[in-house]
């Protein structure tokens, strides 16, 4: 399973970022390291995420424009995520049964979701039999209260945790802060974001939108490191030093769960740092937070997902740590909190229930041309990118009513999704929902109505297209590329043809009609 050579020969999207093919002597060369050698060249103010004004619809475009207006950030982000996409492809080409695995994964998930009650109860039986304490939470608030209860019973002041999108969804950190419990994120990317008081921007690489200079500034302010030293190895070491003592003295450890295995009553957590293992094995109490959709039937099924997950997410065959917990360790306690928070409602949505198959790999984000250029924070929600666009409206259809329009519907997300969610089709379906429930902004409604009228009159349409082609051919550049032409802002318009197809057909074949 070779990875190095492929990376060295592939082209960069932004060649000016420097040497994709040369690797510094000290660079580590395997798996994650067989990535392109990117380096930000200059310090630049980090663009902030979407503006959130209460429940008003989030304007993703506005935030995306600001991200694109920070060229160093935008280019590194684009290059880094496209590199992950290319690494994923190299893994895929090395596995002849890849498509078969995707089909299996999709079918296993659909089977489990359509029998969710059965598998959740089976999971519960096996987990309880092995000494796990199980809790059921209807929503985010209940989840937070349950965990707080466990923390209070143990009189714990500090809780260390590994990455969990579910806890982001529940506003867990903010809640615990108001209750006076210190939360320490152990994943480096999450820790950077926590120290910067900013949400994670990507489900797998939470700080991918930050340049090394941004991280240096955050650590200088919060850990007392040298602001001018932005070497990643230095920064990671500072974080390790500062966080290690906190980990070793925490009273409670918390993890998410990538999979819940009904057959064994066990929980599976995948990390590259091993921070889930640290969080679970050092403190005497281990709490797992998991959405109910994470349950899969058997260990045999687990093999399919583990083979797909890291390959899809990062282009490495497996995460460095794939940890399996099915009971408390000697003298310890283990809790699992199963959370609904709208999932069973989503299960009842005919067009959108398959979004519950998601295994949070982030492949859709890595491939999405909009996400890569906008940054995850531009979506203003827990989940960003393609999967975010189809999940977020189920939490708040008004606040996220504009998100489904931040898509070109190119379908790449659907192609890379390991569990075959038809993401781009669901995005289109949400647009329909938004227009039917009057959630569309006035401007768009007007444009759609005008376009509809034009497309409904063939002769008028043909005249309009011919005029547009002619205009493209003859107008000077400034008249074509200006503020009115938003499509042309970052790309060239296609060259206009000599004549429309219709005109050509009429000229060459029309006489026979």
């Amino acid at each position: 399973m070779s990875e190095g050579n492929g990376a060295r020969d592939s082209k960069m999207l932004h060649p000016e970022l420097g040497d994709a093919n040369g690797q510094g002597g000290a660079k580590l060369q395997h798996a994650e390291g067989a990535s392109k050698n990117l380096q930000s060249r200059r310090r630049e103010a980090q663009p902030s995420g979407a503006v959130i004004r209460g429940d008003r619809p989030v304007d993703q475009s506005e935030a995306a424009n600001r991200f694109m207006a920070a060229p160093e950030h935008a280019k590194i982000h684009d290059e880094r995520l496209w590199d992950l996409r290319e690494k994923r492809d190299r893994q895929m080409h090395g596995i002849p049964e890849w498509e078969e695995l995707r089909t299996l994964a999709s079918e296993i998930k659909e089977h489990a979701l359509t029998r969710l009650d059965h598998y959740l109860e089976l999971f519960e039986r096996n987990a309880l039999a092995n000494g796990i304490q199980l809790h059921w939470a209807k929503d985010a608030a209940e989840h937070n209260q349950i965990v707080l209860g466990i923390v209070r019973r143990h009189d714990a002041k500090r809780l260390i945790k590994s990455k969990s999108m579910l806890t982001e969804e529940c506003g867990f950190r903010e809640f615990m802060q108001t209750e006076g419990v210190e939360i320490i994120e152990t994943d480096l990317g999450e820790r950077i974001q926590q120290l910067d008081d900013e949400a994670p921007s990507h489900v797998v690489v939470p700080a991918v939108h930050k340049l090394r200079g941004d991280v240096a500034q955050v650590f200088a302010k919060t850990l007392g490191s040298d602001e001018d030293n932005d070497d990643p190895a230095y920064l990671a070491e500072r974080q390790r030093e500062a966080t290690r003592p906190l980990i070793l003295s925490a009273g409670i450890g918390m993890t998410g769960a990538n999979f819940l295995v009904a057959e064994s009553g066990g929980v599976v957590v995948c990390t590259n740092e091993g921070n889930a293992d640290l969080s679970a094995n050092i403190p005497p109490v281990h709490i797992v937070s998991a959405g109910i959709e994470k349950v899969i039937p058997r260990l045999d099924d687990l093999a399919v997902f583990i083979r797909l997950l890291s390959r899809s997410a990062l282009g490495s065959p497996i995460t460095q740590y794939t940890s399996h917990f099915r009971g408390p360790r000697l003298g310890g306690e283990m809790h699992v909190v199963l959370v609904d928070n709208g999932r069973s409602t989503r299960l009842g949505m005919e067009k959108f229930w398959t979004s519950l198959k998601c295994i949070r790999c982030g492949a859709c984000m890595n491939t999405c041309p909009v996400f890569r250029r906008s940054g995850g924070l531009s979506y203003g929600a827990t989940y960003a990118g393609p999967i975010g666009m189809i999940i977020n409206p189920t939490f708040d259809p008004h606040k996220y009513s504009r998100l489904p329009f931040s898509s070109t519907l190119n379908g790449s997300c659907t192609n890379v999704c390991p569990v075959k969610i038809n993401i781009h089709e669901q995005i289109a379906a949400w647009r329909q929902v938004m227009s039917e429930t009057h959630e569309m902004p006035m401007m768009k409604k007007a444009m759609m109505a005008a376009a509809g009228r034009l497309l409904a009159q063939p002769a008028l349409y043909r005249v309009a297209i011919a005029a547009a082609d002619s205009a493209l051919k003859h107008l000077p550049r400034f008249a074509v590329y200006n503020r009115l032409n938003s499509w042309g802002r970052q790309r060239e318009l296609p060259a206009p043809p000599a004549e429309t197809f219709h005109a050509w057909y009429k000229r060459n074949r029309g006489a026979r009609k």
């Binding site: 930050k210 190895a233 990671a236 064994s264 590259n272 091993g274 293992d277 640290l278 050092i282 399996h324």
Partner: protein
């Protein structure tokens, strides 16, 4: 299960995958055990849970997992390995204390080549998943690429992981 009938190159495939994920292999020697014992002799604090090697402290002597952080090198045996990914399976039974898999600075893992399985489908048929409360597939040392994609080892867990091929003795 997506695998040839009687694969003969499992050790080779495992080694290749292990190295690709940042793990190391103990160099070929006549006497790997002596080599390992010598490495332990050169550090301040070491711990071994395998009968073939002696560390400076016994794992049971650690009252709290946090104390394991002082260990320079730990020696453990893997339950089995996976050629597809270069992974090693460590369990609570073989670790003694679970934290021994992460808190020491460096890990040396003994692996019997007979215990190398072709791929994950075979791995998940093993009894360990239902027999132990904790089992982890470790693939190379701890790593992160969270800052501009630059790969760094020893982010939180061990800084290096070295595999030594050595047959396991049958339990007497």
């Amino acid at each position: 299960m997506f695998e040839a009938e009687n694969p003969s190159d499992l050790t080779e495939r495992f080694t290749k995958a292990l190295l690709a994920m940042g793990g190391s292999l103990l160099p070929e020697t006549e006497d790997p055990l002596s080599e390992i014992q010598m490495r332990l002799g050169a550090v301040r604090e070491s711990c071994s849970t395998v009968p073939e090697i002696r560390g400076s402290r016994d794992v049971q002597s650690y009252a709290h997992p946090a104390a394991l952080a002082g260990i320079d090198i730990a020696v453990i045996r893997a339950a089995f390995a996976v050629a597809e990914t270069g992974s090693l399976c460590l369990t609570d039974r073989l670790l003694g204390i679970n934290g021994l898999g992460y808190l020491p600075q460096h890990l040396i893992v003994l692996l019997d080549p007979k215990d190398i399985l072709p791929n994950l489908h075979y791995a998940y048929r093993r009894p360990e998943w239902l027999a132990q409360n904790y089992a982890v597939l470790q693939t190379g040392p701890s790593a992160t690429a969270d800052i501009e994609g630059v790969l760094i080892h020893g982010a939180q867990g061990v800084r290096s992981l070295t595999v030594a091929m050595h047959e396991s003795k049958p339990l007497s």
